[in-house]
Amino acid sequence: MRDLIVIGAGPAGLAAAEEASRNGLKDILLIERDDYLGGILNQCIHNGFGLHHFKEELTGPEYASRFIDQLEGTGINVMTGCMVIDIDEDRTVTYVSKEHGLVSEQAKAIILSMGCRERTRGAIGIPGTRPAGVLTAGAAQRYVNIDGFMVGKRVVILGSGDIGLIMARRLTLEGAEVLACVEVMPYSSGLQRNISQCLNDFGIPLYLSHTVTEIRGENRVEQVVVQEVGPDRKPVPGTEMVYDCDTLLLSVGLIPENELTREAGIKIDPRTKGAVVSDDMQTSLDGVFACGNVLQVHDLVDNVTAESLRAGKAAAEYVLSGKKRGEVHSVVTKGAATYAVPQKIRCDAEGNVTMSFRVNRTIRKGTISLSGKDKTFISIKRSDMTPGEMQQLIVPMKLVGNIEPQEFVLDVEEVTE
């Protein structure tokens, strides 16, 4: 039996496997479905990665290669071109590859780090014809940056997610004309620095509270119709703008890729669409941990790394100590907080617990608090919180103390002057 099987060798899986190795696990298997390690970072050739973790600015492939280089000497077994097709409740992992055929292996612990996928046209039901030239920003990024092909000459981008913003700049630099970026919400879901560096610097207009209401063109996109939306997000008649273009890029959200997780019977949080975990990143299934975008969609790879280091360390402790998780507190959200990860905190957790959450609107001045049944453990002020940027709250467990299992409330309130 393996000590640990890590599924997915993007930034999450790489960091988790290496941290588990550093914490004493010997027999680790790292499985990657692609032919190379690093996951989606390989197609993210822009810079801006690593400012927190490495205190320097790296490109995606550079960030990945730091971790890939560290694999050497760890004894971690790596399999590429290998797809996990099933996880059993007894932690048996079944995978297939050209090289090894169909194999099942049991592990003392599993780390889920499969990442996420992009929402598509079908998920948001854009009316119109169904020509070629409508594709997700990530697929376009792969065509341009990995395969070396252009996806279009005149481009409209729907959604202001980070990949869409990055591709606005990339396609412009490659000679395409990016006509507009259109966002249905009154705020962008991308990072402020990307709006500034990828749209503003290139004079690409961002239309907030607008959406694409029709795609036209028989075989290839010929036009898209953009309309303003009201507070109910319904198109406002009379506001139509028609763009002559050959491409519509979609950057309309990411969904954690949890099919394996679900099939294994692991509890999923409907808000994050990732597993429900305790502060040690352990899911509802004993010995199965989750980290990175398969757990919750992150904005920054540095946060993925930090979360994955916690998962790797916890998995090692789980295997080496043989200690099962004890009683837990549960965390619910209130006010502007839309979710909280972890959803459970172990009663005997020590040190600091990092709570991640998002807010449902832009909050200029607010308070963040975490309370138990009859005590507020922590309450801080924070300004300029936006839905596009993940928030974190560090909770020193000594403030919580040794109390009976109970419901904690993470509350984010706007302060009005």
């Binding site: 797809m83 590859s97 055929g101 079908g122 020509p131 290839r220």
Partner: protein
Amino acid sequence: MAKVAIIGCGVVGAAVAYKLSRYDADIVIVEAENDIADGTTKANSAIIHAGYDPEPGTLMARLNVEGVKQALEISKKLDVPYKRIGSYVLAFSEEDCRTIEKLLSNSVANGVEGCEILSGDEVRKREPNISEEVIAALWAPTAGIINPWEYCIAMAETAVRNGADLKLNSRVESIDKAEKGYVLHTSSGDIEADYVVNAAGTFADKIHNMVAEPVFRTVHSKGEYYIFDKEEGTRVGAVIFQCPSKVGKGVLVAPTVEGNLILGPNAVDCDGDDLSVTAEGLEFIRKAAARSVPNVNYSNAIRNFTGVRANTDKSDFIIGVAAEDFIDLAGIKSPGLSSAPAIADEALKLLEGEGLKLNEKAEYVDSRKKVRFRDMNREEREELIKSNPSYGKVVCRCETVTEGEILDAIHSPIPARTLDGVKRRCSSGMGRCQGGFCGPRIVELLAREYGVSEADIEKDKTGSYILCGETKEEKC
């Protein structure tokens, strides 16, 4: 040997080619598009109807019931996914109850077996997600779900393996009468044939009018649909209809044979083959479907599409001799998919009537077997990968389609040349990510196998280019 030209390779044309290909005839299938099954056949409800809908005595009634019987046999022989899961027609009012009584009596007259009327409570016991408002339903156990384009491809492939010649990208522009038979002038050149079968779907009136006086015309009517992730696929276990009206069988809720959920269609008159989806149409479907099954989760929607019915100004199928040696199979609206093999039998009889001699060949192919990795058990998978390692590489992760299956599609008797052509042959890209992940990889495989640039690979029909050239290339 007499030569028979079949115009159109949708499910009707394919069924005619398949049936004819066991006889000593020289068959040429003339298809306007760059792939088969590319019109109404690929965009419909994917239902094999039991046969209680059509008025007794019509062609539709007889051929539907006969087609259902044949679907079971053909799908088994040619390895086409088909499941008899039964259907309900829901009644919400006294008037609806009278309608389902009428359908029940139709079923008896049409020879449909096993239909019965159930109480609302009985229906909910069997289908817990059905609305509380339902007071009764007609149950038809022989209704089924099928993969419609694969049904077509399987029959066309078998015909090709039996020697039929398929001419793609050959739109018939005009037809001349020859001394014996006809000359079809197509966009790719002239084709001579002794006999012609018009199976041109929504274009059948245009083809008819090339050789005979107009007697019918196509009335384009589009239907829009939703497809859902497999997470919604068990919302219902049978095909759920509402009472039919003049415009169609109403909005249905059904599992697909791949395990997804399908909702739709509406019925809107349209101009030509208008395949666009509209906000109003989708809203109509959501409201109508909610009457039957109120708790469908729309955050699991993965796709919308539109199909155009081959309706005409006639109420029945139009099957007959249009001119000497020229057979019309026109107005094949619903239940056309269900009736296709029986329509083909009619075509063969009519051809015989026109003088075609049907001598059975000494040898012909009548079977087909496909590799479907996701449907295999452990031992079968192990064996398969051992025999060919390319089945060990999963390319489409949502639908678990392997590289081996994609290569099979590219090298099949009617080879896939486009991204959607591959999809229609092995279900790649049909899942929740809609090809976001596997699309670029399949484009790469297509380019490799055909020895062309990835920029030359199209999504579907001619002109649906995916890439416009290499990066840093001036012409882009």
